[in-house]
Symmetry: C2
């Protein structure tokens, strides 16, 4: 008798916030691996702000998740059976395997990970997409230089904790924007940020003015909305605004709030640039090696927020992201 594969499928396109009714909890027999395939059991599921965008039926960098399809998600699985020469039982493998307990894969887009280097969940965070996103967003898109002032929004999140710490490694003054005193204390006391701004306390514009006396050279934006607008008032000459995400806007049923201060780009001869980390796939290994080195040397601390549960806990765990309940990389760990 085959195992049961519990899955979360999309049943309706949410308008505004994602509701429990937008998901279907399905139980299917787990499949056996065919020729050239392997099967695995899901251990860790990544939760990412970008997931909200994947639910909307509009042109983006990936096609939307189809109605009735298993929800797209990055995850780490443990191989249980294999007809594939590159993957063996017991291997841990990272890939976009979806929100389900059992996976069958032909290995495309899958990567075996070395769990002696770091715990498996870290390959979804610091050594995974969020780490790559922070690395290439700051260093390539942001063209960060030593001694510059860097401001990171969503600073206590998966990408933000990495972006701020990488900027510190690169010798910058780093100011993080996060929600609430607990996150702000984490940034300055544990992660080495030079200052933190609590947007929930209000007065972000004034706080940024105080904390960036020479202006902002690189603003790494994960949130959009009013915080982006506040940061635009502080740009230094030739500043770079890196558009990584806009989590404050993803649940809008109305259009995004556009940055009303965008004309600062003209006054400050600055640029605002977006990117998608997948474009850097050929350089992931190089980046992961460098980040692993910084982690090993204690220069970067890995922050993960593990929620233990089953795939049925996925919808509620996803909401944590949009409420800002997580600190560091949010991961659903399957029991």
């Amino acid at each position: 008798m085959s195992a049961i594969n519990r899955q979360i499928r999309l049943t309706a396109r949410p308008v505004g916030e994602v509701e429990p009714e937008d998901w279907e909890h399905v139980a299917e027999p787990a499949q056996e691996p065919g020729e050239g395939q392997f099967a695995g059991r899901t251990r860790f599921i990544s939760l990412d702000p970008a997931m909200r965008g994947w639910l909307d039926d509009r042109p983006s960098y990936l096609p939307p998740v189809g109605i009735g399809e298993v929800m797209r998600a990055g995850s780490v699985i443990e191989v249980t059976a294999s007809n594939h020469p590159g993957f063996h039982p017991g291997d841990h493998v990272v890939g976009t395997f979806g929100v389900q307990e059992h996976v069958v894969s032909d290995g495309k887009g899958a990567m075996k990970i070395d769990t002696s280097l770091a715990p498996p969940s870290t390959f979804l965070g610091a050594l995974g997409m969020p780490g790559m996103t922070a690395y290439f967003g700051l260093l390539d898109v942001g063209a960060l230089r030593e001694g510059e002032t860097v401001v990171v929004s969503g600073a206590a999140g998966a990408v933000g904790t990495m972006a701020g710490q990488i900027a510190k490694v690169k010798g910058c003054r780093v100011v993080g924007i996060a929600g609430g005193p607990e996150k702000c204390a984490l940034l300055t006391d544990e992660l080495g940020f030079d200052a933190a701004v609590d947007y929930r306390a209000g007065g972000v514009k004034r706080a940024l003015r105080e904390q960036t006396p020479d202006g902002i050279d690189v603003y790494f934006d994960n949130v959009g909305g009013e915080i982006l607008d506040a940061a635009l008032t502080r740009l230094a000459m030739h500043a770079r605004v890196v558009i990584c995400g806009a989590i404050s806007q993803y649940n809008n049923a109305t259009p995004f709030q556009g940055p009303s201060n965008y004309i600062s780009l003209l006054v400050r001869r600055a640029r605002m640039e977006g990117f998608v980390v997948f474009d850097y796939a050929k350089r992931y290994a190089e980046a992961a090696q460098e980040i692993a080195g910084w982690i090993g040397a204690g220069r970067i601390k890995v922050k993960e927020h593990l929620v233990k549960g089953t795939v049925d806990d996925f919808p509620e765990t996803l909401q944590m992201l949009f409420r800002g309940d997580n600190i560091g990389k949010l991961v659903l760990e399957l029991a």
Copy 2:
């Protein structure tokens, strides 16, 4: 008895649209040139959308015009008397001499022009700041390449007519956005644009979709607002959005309308960049020479909109810009 120097001075900071009461019409005795100075009579006064920004008391690339000061403006004067070795009676000189009939200058920031090359007013347009702005904005900031699709807003204006024609010289597909059928006909029938979109007819988004089947590689924005937002929906991969101005927003008493579709920058791996033409001052001569060559070869047509009058007509003439009444470079020609 010395001549009378009529001047337009700023008396109040406008909120929203500039009102006649914001200006003072002053008559003073014209000054004599001192040691190392020359005096001149104003012949042509430039009217520029950027003037609106100079009236606001907020940080920008130039200090605001002070209350009680002569309004800042570029102009061409004819030298009437000189104690300066570089300038002689009869010379035509371009500079930021302000809205006044008589000028005394020490020559700083002033440049003698060769009226055998082009009529004096052209040094305020195609061979002046608007020409420089189009040239460096497209070629440097926009990093234009042959064969790309270029969209220009405010296309029938001083900068827009030049930007579109320079893009044609560079072998691009060029779509202009302008207000009304007359301007649109000018773009396609006279200036060689491949297509024109009449924003007053509505449906800009759809029209852009039709006219840019491969998306927009370079969007040269003079207007901001809804047109910028529409253009953002059509960006090609790695597109460049050049922020040159935002005339649709300058008279807002409320904050600028931010581009709600800015997240296209992420999806399309695109950048939005602002610039100020003054930064290219060292390369003006090079650019003017190349533009003059294109004009001479008939590849670029100079469009100027001359209003004949006195400095007292400045306030009303300025309004023409914001109503979109002008075609090409708007200049006040003093009788």
